[in-house]
Amino acid sequence: MPPTVKAYYRESRKVYGVRNHVLVLPTTLCVNRLAELIWEEFKGEQWGDNGENRVVLARHNGGCCHVGFELEVAFRTLLGIASHPNVHGVLLVSLGCGQLCKRPLAPGESKEQNLTAFRLYDRLVKRGVLVRWVNVQEPLRGSGDGFERAVELGRKFVREMVEEAQAAKRVEAPLKRFVIGVGNGASDPTSGLFANPAVGYVVDELVRNGASVVFSQTTEVLGSEEYLMGKVSDEAVARKLRRLLETVYALKEALAEYVGESDPTPGNIASGISTLAEKSLGSILKAGLDPSIKLTDVLPYAHPVPRGSGLYFMDTPGEDVLSITGMVAGGAHSVIFTTGLGTPVGSVVSPVVKVTANRETYARLSRIIDVYIPVEELFSSGASLRELAMRELYPVVLEVLSGRRLTKSEVNGQMDFDIRGFWLRA
């Protein structure tokens, strides 16, 4: 009998959320401070059985002056985060002139002429998302300063949404309605040998029980083509994967002259990693060890991840916050993240479960790390790594989904989020 999750059902969107957050989202970086002022009013407020829900703020460094492809990605990311299943309602904080701001039409301007500006708001409404907005540049009714009025109005909208969110109750839902992301960062030798394979065993179990799992970090899978191609059974998926890897290889090669020494880095070599293949295999085993579980599809950055069982690969940078943001914007309800040296990283709307197999790191940084895989038991009690992973990590993931347990990233208020830029960042 596959396990079930207790989650919030959203009738208008036919999705289940594992949190019931209210999101304050600036549509452009210029209004980060305004969004923060609105959010500060609700800073200490928590609700839900274990206080797992709150008003969250997604500060970022994008939303304006994007070109072409970059604009598409910024749009997908904002849309994905605003319509995330874990979000009860969203307040869009607009400036007015930004590319993705919601603003009233200028005299004589038709909605079609101003498509980008309306697209984000309209798409959210069409998706059935509860959405409110404030706009700094729009003259608001009443007297007084426009900026202050925007703060007041924003706080009023958020208060209404919080009251609604507080009334919601969790209901039973099958695991096949959920998406789990996996990632790794601030790695050390214990990550590749123990933590990532341990997560791999948990991923296999989640997929077998009907969940969708997504992994990412394209620059870090280079070198593990043998593993990846072994995960592909479909010709179309193989073609997509090959094209993606070829492009990244080419870019990396071209940049190598400028970046200097390429992978593995001198730091990797000093800790015993010999080749790029060895480095990336240690990282990619988190995507599962069962050879019968195949890759369902390869997705672009922040693209929605289909629910209903499967293993997906998303093209993201290797950097932690951007890779997690991509998967979460794609709808990941929660992310399992391994670390060796320790990192506080989290996500604005999804709980991030951090796992380490490094005893010293866990002892020193248990305030930011959730789970320790006790590898010394491998040699003393004869338990296998799979048994340890299923005992220590798997139940924690289910508890986090059902809101019975808060991750360290949530307790610490890690509201990590950003918009991916494409110039000089890989």
Binding site: V67, E246, T247, A250, L251, E253, A254, A277, L385
Partner: protein, 196 residues
């Protein structure tokens, strides 16, 4: 971590030292899912988290870890040898074990060298390793097993990256490379590059 050699998969011919291993001492080998499967006696000291050969690997033979090929041996590797990165095949005049004991980086490469090029002290290798400091100018250290970029380091060992399994698009590589070359030369500005 205990002084154990950890083998990830049954197919592996190398294991990882979980802590520093001494030369000539027998250590247990643990295989994931199977438990203790035997012992290995290192021929050189193995630093923590480095790889030790669990069987003889012929020159050109595949080095397997995690159940996958992680590299190709550029020299025959004996059971108990340290298996690590290289871009340099060392000349017999230098004592390999001595080099391993004192660190793996031999020196810095001031100008890009191609695969097969001979590395000489003071010519195309600025020595960093204590064993090379006393070496006479232009003395031959070894041969580059792969191209080393300008500013890269010459390293010692017995394993190289396996050949890429994906065919790369030469045309695209050239395009991107030219783009960055022009950009660096100041002949191209971001504002003039059309994207989309």
């Amino acid at each position: 971590m205990p002084a154990i050699v950890y083998k990830v998969s049954g197919r592996d011919n190398v294991g990882t030292a979980l802590s520093r291993l001494e030369e000539g001492v027998e250590y247990p080998v643990y295989e994931e899912g199977r438990g203790f499967v035997g012992t290995v006696k290192p021929r050189v000291p193995i630093p923590a988290w480095h790889k030790v050969a669990l069987e003889r690997i012929e020159e050109g033979g595949e080095v397997v870890k995690f159940g996958y090929v992680i590299g190709v041996a550029v020299a025959a590797v004996e059971e108990g040898d340290l298996v690590h990165v290289t871009n340099v095949l060392l000349d017999p005049a230098y004592d390999f074990r001595q080099m391993v004991k004192q660190g793996l980086v031999l020196g810095v490469i001031p100008v890009r060298v191609e695969k097969g090029e001979v590395l000489r002290v003071g010519a195309n290798l600025k020595p960093l390793h204590p064993a090379l400091r006393a070496a006479p100018l232009r003395s031959r250290v070894g041969v580059a097993a792969s191209a080393i970029a300008e500013g890269g380091t010459a390293r010692l060992g017995n394993i190289v990256e396996p050949p890429p399994r994906l065919r790369r698009s030469e045309r695209y590589v050239r395009l991107v490379r030219d783009f960055y070359r022009l950009l660096r030369a100041g002949l191209l500005e971001f504002a003039r590059v059309e994207v989309g």
